[in-house]
């Protein structure tokens, strides 16, 4: 017993010493919906690993399960616990703004990660860190144009309706396509909620409805591969160009096999590390730009070897 107490005291003194040498931070993160897809799960473990590397960072990791109301509750809990900074992966780009404003008013800096929040909330955040989804959509449009030589009919399979990432990718894609590639016509867009099985069903319906489809743009590779599955079953995969975003392992392999034209390479590890680093920079009092985009390059069969296969 005495031994244990002594040990505990020792640890306390030790950690107190550490804290003096280097200021210690408590950072809370509330994520969107871990477990709904591998990207978010990989992000979570990468974030925890990154935090463990910094000896002085203590993280509180929460998951909103996709529910806006629960995320707001978690924001309030984190404010209540007086954490030093909050990182939020918004379940919705607008509905979380009042909660972010409350944190801001309580003097807690907020870093938004992965998915942007609406214009009105930008005043209350310390920084955003994540991919530029509008740019990603535009890049996909460029690839589509290139693959079809500027002519053809395509369909779009979008992510979850109402979710910022899905809307921004669609917006970026549609705007760029109309501008750079007027010869390519977008026949129809249907959502598949980031779900491969749903994407497969949506694509099956497209295939019966349209006799002539030259290309498919999917909001992520998970859905893109679902569309590819459907086209393969119908024996029409060869005549269709598939382009996705957020390169998944299955998409990477499909590019390798030559069945899939291209995607956007986006690493959840980069995403998580960038978010944590941004938060630490803010806490250290450094000047941090409001928008911190990390690189998300195009990936096609031509440059496939430059990238590691995604782990998710």
């Amino acid at each position: 017993m005495i031994y244990k107490t002594a040990l505990a005291t020792g640890v306390m003194i030790f950690s107190a010493g550490l804290a003096q040498a280097e200021e210690s931070y408590r950072i809370g993160i509330t994520q969107n919906n871990v477990g709904v897809d591998s990207y978010q799960t990989t992000y979570e473990s990468a974030f925890e690993q990154a935090a463990a590397k910094h000896g002085n960072v203590d993280v509180i990791v929460l998951d909103a399960g996709g529910d806006v109301a629960r995320q707001i509750g978690q924001m309030r809990n984190l404010i209540q616990q007086r954490v030093d900074a909050i990182i939020i992966w918004p379940t919705n780009g607008q509905a979380v703004i009042p909660a972010i404003r409350q944190a801001h008013n309580a003097g807690i800096p907020v870093v938004v990660t992965n998915s942007k929040i609406a214009e009105a909330g930008l005043d209350y955040i310390a920084a955003f860190s994540g991919p530029d989804n509008v740019q990603q959509g535009a890049s996909s449009a460029e690839m589509m144009c290139e693959a079809l030589n500027g002519e053809g009919q395509i369909v779009q399979i979008a992510g979850q309706p109402g979710y910022t990432t899905a809307m921004e990718r669609s917006q970026g894609f549609e705007e760029k396509l109309a501008e750079a590639c007027p010869g390519v016509k977008l026949l129809e867009t249907q959502p598949a909620d980031w779900n491969r099985e749903k994407a497969q069903r949506v694509m099956e319906n497209f295939l019966t409805k349209y006799d002539d489809i030259d290309g498919v743009y999917a909001g992520d590779d998970n859905m893109g591969v679902g569309a590819l599955n459907a086209a393969k079953s119908a024996g029409r995969a060869d005549e269709i160009v598939f382009i996705g975003a957020t390169n998944f392992a299955v998409g990477y392999e499909a590019i390798e096999r030559g069945e899939y034209y291209g995607s956007i390479y986006q690493s959840p590890v980069d995403d998580a590390e960038a978010a944590l680093q941004t938060a630490l920079d803010v806490l250290a009092g450094e000047e941090v730009p409001k928008m911190n985009f990390f690189e998300t390059p195009k990936i096609t069969a031509n440059n496939l070897t430059e990238f590691d296969k995604p782990v998710f």
């Binding site: 477990g35 629960r70 509750g73 809990n77 209540q80 919705n92 009042p98 409350q102």
Partner: protein, 321 residues
Amino acid sequence: MNMINMKDFLKGSGFIQPIWVFVIVITVFFSFMSEYFLSIGNLGNILVQTSTIGLIALGMTFVMINGNIDLSVGAVLGLAASLSVGLQDYGITIAVIAALASGLVLGAINGLIVWKTGVNAFIVTLGAMIGVRGLIFVYTEEQSFYATNFAFSDFGAASIGPFPVLALIFLVCTLVMHLVLKKTGHGRNTFAVGGNPEAALDAGIRIGRHMMINFIIVGFFAALAGVLLATQMGAATPNLGRDYELWTITAVVLGGTKLTGGFGSITGTLGGVLAIGILRNGMNLMQVPAFYVLVILGLILISVLIIDQRLNVHASKGVSI
């Protein structure tokens, strides 16, 4: 002898209901596990987070004592939230009134259909749950709405002294509905109809009307919960309220209300929603991974059901063979 007294005590024939024993146990447990748990601020948080499900559960208790069920509350909540934000161009007051009215109307539609067609409430409200979600998507065109006026979201964050306004609204509503259930003719008839519809009919109780009133009550509370949730977010999303019907029914059943009707109480329901709220909050503070929270909530629900049944076992002895 002692044993029987203990049983009576736990069964709620004494002054305390079993769910409240559970609430006290988990409160003590979490206060040892986390230093933040018992702070005034956190308790306020729990009440605010509980208020959404809690308000709906008040109405659901009436509907369930009445022998019915309402699965459409989550969708009604979503529609009311979208209306209360989307119509703010006409002024916040009008938007809020329209939102609450939508709840009353949808509740009345559900109630009228159940009354006049005789179709099982489970089916009627399952249909409404799917259809009202469609209404939301038609109205919002899949978009989230954002309240440009911060006065709206400031209301959701306001407090009187240390008490958050939303928590106070919830507690006042709870008290009112407790009195309505206990002290009014409508409350008594709700029990009578749920306990034995034929006998109630013979006694000249207008069972259809009471059913409809109860559906209007739950519709109103679902809409109120939607409006208050929208003030917390300053926004509304088309998917808001999904699964809430499941958690609401869970909370009401945890509180001792019988799905077969004729038995239940508002105090029990308050215990039920607090139990879920405290569990979620406490597990958050203890950083229990989200995946395990799902399993734990499921297991606790089954355990409570088993305990509840064991306590009532002598009542059903005649039937079970």
